[in-house]
């Protein structure tokens, strides 16, 4: 199935790609949009239009907004196309990665108890959802707190931000291989309902596509 993917940065794009591969091997990514990340929220309507041609799979971070349903309501167009698969990572793609607590602890060289556990949180909806809980932005927790406890000297050097930088000098270099090869989505889904929902959305996209195909 041909799809366009839209991610905020290299990490979110890698997450989308890995989830697609996890759900099916039949996806063909036409293009990663836009050419430069970081502007995806201002181009939602364009992506929605594009979804009329091929499915568009978007993943954005919750960022400053504290409530996913609110952000979803605010961002999704009224006439959202059903091939426009809009996903919000609570609170960030990095939280989904750390949601695979065993895998991430091993990768980062830290004790598993250094990574917070998931717990039910209320996002404004009626039902409490299971999500990873961090005192502040997950990526900041990762680079400013977690990594200090690492026993791997290389990882510390690569992920610790230099003064005035927000991320380590080799942040993507380290995280992308983890996402591509080690990240356990089954395990992570247990700790993140927003991730489970994205997987479910992709699966139902596949089902709707298969049922729409003419029967042989």
């Amino acid at each position: 199935m041909k799809v366009y993917i839209v991610g905020e940065d290299d990490v979110t794009c890698a997450i989308i790609k890995r989830i697609l591969l996890y759900c099916s091997e039949g996806f063909e990514i036409i293009s990663e949009l836009p050419a430069r990340g970081g502007q995806i929220k201002s181009k939602i309507n364009e992506f929605n239009k594009l979804a009329a041609v091929y499915p568009v799979i978007l993943l954005t971070d919750l960022d400053a907004t504290s409530c996913a349903p609110q952000l979803l309501h605010h961002l999704t167009p009224k006439d959202k196309h059903n091939q426009f698969i809009f996903n919000i990572a609570v609170d960030e793609g990095e939280a989904w990665l750390m949601a695979d607590r065993y895998g991430f602890a091993e990768f980062a060289g830290v004790d598993i108890e250094s990574i917070p556990r998931a717990r039910p949180t209320r996002q404004g909806g009626r039902k409490a959802l299971i999500e990873m809980c961090f005192a502040y932005k997950p990526s900041r927790f990762l680079t400013h707190e977690l990594i200090k406890k690492s026993k791997k000297p290389d990882i510390i050097k690569q992920l610790t931000p230099k003064e005035g930088a927000s991320k380590g000098p080799e942040y993507n270099t380290d995280l992308l291989p983890f996402i591509q090869k080690k990240w356990d989505i089954d395990e992570a889904s247990k700790n993140s309902d927003s991730l489970t929902r994205m997987v479910n959305r992709i699966r139902s996209l596949i089902t709707s596509y298969e049922t729409a195909l003419p029967k042989p």
Binding site: I30, S31, E32, L33, A35, R36, K43, K49, L50, N172
Partner: protein
């Protein structure tokens, strides 16, 4: 008159390609996709047509036919170029030129090329004004070494075409070479704005014209490089041409600087402005974004459009680029952007408006840059920084 269509067969990366060109064209593609080779086909026509040029020297200057012929070429070993010319806003064409060449010689014989076919079709007269092939009885091994395009006697009926090709300019100003005075002797081709010969070229322009060009360029520089003032052309006591400007600083009058002290960006900008203002033919611009600030780059597409509108007679500008900032300009049409993509059978060449996977992205309202740049990016580029650097 502009080049409206180009067809290449076995030319460098291009086994077979055919694409429509517009008055302003942006050629994009990954590194080594063949952007420079694509525009080199036009320089090749220029090299054949120019004074002291000719087919054999154009081939030799490129290292012989083996360096020109496509690596994907299999049973067909000929190389051919076809261009169609016409006015930009008219549907009908004016000229069609076709050249088909093949390697000859080798062993103890000198390696050269011979013409298999050379054709010029005049749409005005609705007939071929030149139609040669290697099987005609009045052709022999010697006559087939020379195109009619390069011979004043033979091209009487299509002189306009020769002049058109002669006026194709290639701009790839390399600041290091402009500064290096010894490069004056080494410049590969005197016709190009390449190194030191840029200054030679300035020296040849009539003084009044040159002064009026400099006046214009000073206006641009005032905005883009505000600390440079009074840019002018001078010759030193040895007669060597220089450009000189006043670099303003804490002294009231600033101090004089010559090209050797100019920044890379300033030199490129000056060369670039000159080529745009001076030339009357097709201009080939090689990655104008190099050394220039992104703020200047974002202005280039509109600046080029303005120049095209203000000059009499149509002038075509063909630009190779990797620049997001340039392509983000919303005035660029998908007809104006040509995407080169590598395949095992050579590079494919398509207008973005003809590519099914990209057209919907643009129609949905995303900029050309957002739509096409992902297609020029190598698939696994993120792996680059994951490579081990242990030796």
């Amino acid at each position: 008159m502009i080049i409206k269509k180009i067809k290449l067969h076995n030319w460098k990366n291009f086994q077979n390609c055919e694409v429509d060109l517009s008055e302003r064209c942006f050629i994009i593609g990954a590194n080594a996709a063949g952007k420079s080779n694509f525009i080199d086909a036009l320089r090749f026509l220029r090299d054949i047509s120019k004074q002291a040029g000719g087919l054999q020297s154009a081939v030799e200057g490129r290292g012989g036919i083996t360096k020109i012929r496509c690596l994907a070429a299999r049973t067909q070993t000929n190389v051919s170029i076809t261009v169609e010319l016409g006015d930009p806003n008219e549907a009908h064409l004016l000229w069609k030129y076709h050249l088909d060449i093949q390697h000859t010689g080798g062993g103890i014989m000198k390696s050269q090329v011979k013409i298999l076919k050379e054709q010029v079709f005049s749409f005005k007269e609705n007939q071929y004004v030149c139609d040669r092939d290697d099987r005609q009885t009045d052709e022999d091994e010697e006559t087939l070494k020379y195109t009619h395009l390069e011979q004043a006697n033979a091209n009487r009926k299509f002189r306009e075409l020769q002049v058109f090709f002669q006026n194709i300019e290639y701009l790839n100003l390399i600041p290091q070479l402009v500064r290096e005075s010894s490069s004056l002797l080494q410049s590969y081709s005197k016709e190009d704005y390449y190194g030191r010969n840029f200054l030679e070229k300035l020296a040849k322009i009539n003084e009044r014209t040159r002064n009026s060009y400099f006046k214009k360029i000073n206006e641009f520089l005032k905005i883009a490089v505000p600390q440079l003032e009074e840019l002018r052309f001078i010759k030193d006591e040895m007669g060597v041409p220089h450009i000189e400007a006043r670099y303003m600083h804490w002294r009231a009058r600033g101090s004089k600087q010559q090209e050797a002290q100019f920044s890379d960006g300033t030199l490129r900008l000056i060369g670039f402005l000159f080529a745009l203002i001076d030339n009357n033919g097709v201009i080939l611009l090689e990655e104008p974004e190099i050394n220039l600030h992104s703020g200047i780059i974002t202005q280039l597409p509109e600046f080029i459009a303005k120049i095209q509108r203000s000059k009499k007679g149509a002038r075509q500008i063909i630009i190779t680029t990797h620049s997001y900032d340039m392509l983000a300009n919303q005035g660029i049409s998908s007809n104006e952007v040509i995407l080169l993509q590598n395949t095992s059978e050579g590079t494919t060449v398509n207008r973005v408006s003809d590519i099914d996977d990209i057209r919907p992205i643009i129609e949905a309202g995303l900029s050309i840059a957002d739509a096409v740049i992902p297609f020029t990016k190598p698939k696994n580029i993120e792996k680059m920084s994951q490579l081990s650097l242990d030796f």
